[in-house]
Symmetry: D2
Subunit: 376 residues, 4 copies
């Protein structure tokens, strides 16, 4: 193999026109990519480009997708170590390409060792400015929003990184339709009040204020995951919250026992299958409380609570909670929107929405956000 | 990162149930994967699997896709060197997976250094037999059959490996519909008589008898590329020939000058835009001659000459040639079938058929092959 | 033309296996077809069949569609008069056909002269039993449910019978998916509380108890339109209510002045665009009140309130009202489901949902009713 | 019912801006609509319009579709007699509508009594000029081109008028895509050389010169069906010939005995299933002969021979014949194009192409004609 002798190494901090996606710290040496959909974007005029990653994990390895001029061209597992990955080579020197490296896998709360860092770029050309996008969108959710099940055969049932996708995800498709920059805050199995298995600590609101607060361990602390997030620096136009599916699941799951306190937790159904009044109220309070917190940090955003890709049973409680929030706050830039349910032919792996289901959800959501942005 | 201590290395030659795809030599130490769509297939019960590749090139690097239980899960560039690639990890030990590693890029006649070899597998489980498929299909073609342009944005125009795909290709889709094992013999720019730019040496029939005769150089000779192909060992049920598009292009391209002989070559049009009689006859003779060769090596196959994904102007000549062949040979298992043209919305990169165009072509071809297999 | 001498006239009352669709009286001499989607169904073994209709109107003529073996074969305007219409001829005598004659246009409250009656059938064969269907569905709605705008070019804006369809309507498609018999109670412009132009008398609940109470005039009285409906004789499994679109419209329309009382009526918005609290509450009370009435008459039906095909702004109020109803009544067989909004390419004539929009709505609604019928 | 007193009767011959579609005579008192797809077109500013038809038949009644502003609004059987049919009423007086009345059923060679005449229009407004279309297309074919099987359930097998459609037909769709005026010359069961059942008199070329020469009887003679067609007055830009399907069928059908001469006719297959050389040559001669005739009458048209919607077995012979014709004539504006085969889900009634199959065929044909019109 012939060496390309024009390649030069650029630490991220030396790249003038670096665009960073996803919530993270200010550190560029290296940059930690915490969340799915996060990564870097560059406009580059040159023929060959590599990126230096540093990867670690005990259980769940990260994956990345590479997107060139908005087309996904590769998707690969990143094994542990610090090494260079070639993103393209042999392209025309004089032509500008838009390049994105996207983390395809959610932040992994269950593996404190899991991390993906980017140190530098090796390149033989010139960096150019990345166009500022029209809008900023934030998506908050669970496994659906993490893109669990978009990849893989229907039979797959292992809970592993391989089945996740940030690219063929309703989040990415919706943002692309508006030429919006976007961020994703999501975690499989989690809810707004409780996880699918009644663990009350696994809720997104609890950690929303931190850079990536749902992670654990000293390593993540050192990476800045538990710092306060700088909301001022990135105020979204639209916040989409897609939570409720796991809160609903909790009503159908056994109790969860907290080994630390000895307490058990369980969202209860009545004998006739209706919700226990107190427990559904706790869920509603969590929705309302989260809206208060979201508004505090996102002062002007249109907030849309979406739900329905895996059934819509808990929807009345969501409507009640949002109603209450609006009545109590006077905030009118909040609404609820039902996403289409996942039909049989649109199921992906792990009984989760597949790519077709994400496409359908995006289509409906795009229509709704259009109205929201025009009318309110 | 925790080491998986159960992993054991298996040279390919030690794997009892190894299934090899694509035309190659008998050598397993290492296995050379010459053609697009080629690679290895395994049925494996275990949690983690790596493959050891050895890769070289001067210009055009190979890419692979990994397909698990028939679903594509990753696709990546292979840089030069000898190293291990992890295909999956963290899966349930006790569940059998079907695994395929597929070369996504055509044999590269323009880069004698380009090679992809597989040495070994590192695995923590048990190998199981791969089910014998119902049919064997062979596809012979040019850039269309090589899947050039399936990947990448419409604006892309560089001629590089990145835009090729064996997976979202009409060949793979057609074979899958019949549960057929398949092989691809193809080269961008080449024809049955001449290349798109009138180079008469760039035709597939000339090299069809060899393992991968269109390659060049000592390295490929050492790999066995120029050995006689063992047709006896793999007799297809259907041979699909998709050639003619570049032969047509030659009529619209300038002459090609052979520096070795000083001769120039050019397929000519008359002033009224019709074909020069002698030149179109030469094309027809090449079609007929190739059919004679194909029948010699594939004694019982149904041979289908397909054409039309990038226009169908030369079709009458194809029909004439196939007619002549049938009349002269008495062979009735040969026919012609027009594939749907690539409409604007189905164009991929490099003005080639995109994924949607391949899907449409596959749909029509599947229908036609069904009839062929039933009726004849 | 040759006469078919085997034809015999059968008054409807003489036909043993006559199946009547749509809410109507017990009178068969003649049968009045009041509602869209209503009509007669026959299983017939014979070659030629005519139906004798009697039609009147001052402004809005009725239309019918003829459906043979579930395929629509004709659709025509019925001009005034009493006459015979040929539904089929020249068919094989010995083969049984399923035949439906369907009123394609809603009951016309604005034209007291409009009526469609069926007197008799002229036929040359044998009547056979019509299979009892698995389910009974009732649909209650406005212009959307009346199928206004399914027929005709996008530019059409006249309010005339020609643009209505009962056949390419989400009601018919949804019922067909479940092999359900169905009835439709609907009126363009009407709501659950008020019409689109703030006329408080134009609401469906007010007239729900009568056979076809929203009609006017002595002629309709004589036809039995104002008789109490016999709910006992037809208890649906599912009641779909698609009301709210015109109630929402009222908030954006000028006041309506009641010439009789001199009173004006207007659903008001606040200056910030939110709903006037009293007025939205009146809407919610109307929803709740209608649910009470629906449950009284349909004792075991699953009631599904659907909404969203022309925007979903008033949805929170629907959720609140249904919540209240459920809390106050303890009735758990009531729910809310959002239908997909009509996208640009799915708009029909008169800015109403076109056939494509009805197909999409049916697809989602079918999925939801499946769950409802299984789970609850 | 209120009478519309503004209605006035206009004999066709009194309407200045009358546009006639389909091949017919010059007679307007009345106008005979011989062919499927034929009829009249008007641009009208007014509220209500009726048409006076005169209809006769012994066996096969005609049907019409009404198309307003390019949208089909009704479709109905026309029973025998002379009477008025209302096409629209209640529309805005001041708005111009484009109106087409289209014969939905082919000329019926098997029923010499079958005729459809138009005498007059009754209207309350003003006639306006009909825009001249960009192109003129002629379609020549068999049952496929007659639209047999587009209407009706899959189970239908009676040969009756009801299953025919000129509207959801590839002919109409193709013409519409080019804003082309079009004519259709077609007959179910007929071929270019012989009918499906080996009757050598049932071929289109034999009657192509006459207005509607394939009809029979004195009545049709009186209507002018057997007059020479005036080709000068209507020179098409494109002639699409879709023949060959029945010629192929003849090879698989029993012989046909000519009672007049005692002779039997049969297109033969050899024992190995290939075509008898003499018989396939007779077919090819018929194709070539028809091309000579077509060119004589259509001096500048691009002629496209299409085939394949119900299989493509005889295609090589079509290519040979067209080749021969081109070689012998030097005519280069003739080509062959394969239409997509009818897949299972696209079958209509009577095992014929359904609406979906016609849509697919139109899509491919539109693409091809675009190239033909641009390049040649």
């Amino acid at each position: 193999m012939k060496e390309n002798e024009k390649l030069k190494v650029y630490p991220l901090s030396d790249i003038e026109y670096l665009k960073i996606h996803g919530r993270t710290t200010k550190c560029l040496s290296p940059l930690t990519v915490f969340w799915t959909g996060g990564g870097i974007e560059l406009n580059v005029k040159g023929s060959e480009l590599w990126v230096e990653v540093e990867v670690d994990y005990d259980i769940y390895e990260p994956w990345i997708s590479v997107v060139i001029n908005s087309a996904p061209v590769s998707r690969q597992m990143l094994i542990s170590g610090r090494y260079w990955v070639c993103l393209f080579r042999g392209m025309s020197e004089g032509i500008v390409k838009n390049l994105r490296i996207i983390r395809d896998v959610q932040a992994m709360s269950a593996d404190p060792s899991c991390s993906l860092k980017i140190h530098a770029v090796k390149f033989d050309g010139e960096f150019l400015p990345v166009e500022e996008r029209l809008y900023k969108f934030e998506f908050i959710g669970d496994s659906i929003t993490s893109g669990e099940g978009i990849i893989g055969a229907k039979v797959e049932d292992d809970w592993i990184s391989m089945w996740f996708s940030a690219v063929y995800n309703y989040t990415a498709m919706t943002a692309a339709a508006f030429n919006a920059e976007y961020r994703v805050i999501s975690q499989s199995g989690w809810g707004v009040f409780t996880s699918w298995d009644n663990n009350p600590y696994c809720n997104i609101p609890k950690y929303y204020d931190k850079v990536c607060g749902l992670l654990n361990g000293e390593k993540n602390e050192a990476l800045g995951a538990f710092e306060e997030n700088d909301f001022e620096s990135w105020q979204p136009d639209v916040v989409v919250v897609n939570l409720g599916t796991n809160d609903m699941g909790a009503f159908n799951s056994p109790e969860w026992r907290d080994e630390a306190t000895g307490e058990s937790h369980k969202q209860r159904l009545n004998d006739d299958g209706t919700f226990n009044e107190e427990d559904i109220k706790a869920f509603e309070n969590a929705v309302e409380g989260f809206l208060v917190k979201l508004r505090k940090h996102n002062r002007t955003a249109n907030i849309v609570w979406v739900y329905g890709m895996l059934g819509s049973i808990i929807m009345p409680a969501i409507y009640r909670a949002v109603d209450n929030y609006k009545k109590n706050s006077g905030d009118i830039k909040v609404s609820v929107f039902q996403l289409p349910n996942t039909t049989d032919e649109a199921v992906g792996s792990r009984n989760h929405p597949g790519r077709l289901s994400h496409e359908r959800a995006a289509k409906e959501l795009i229509g709704y956000i259009k109205e929201v942005l025009v009318n309110r």
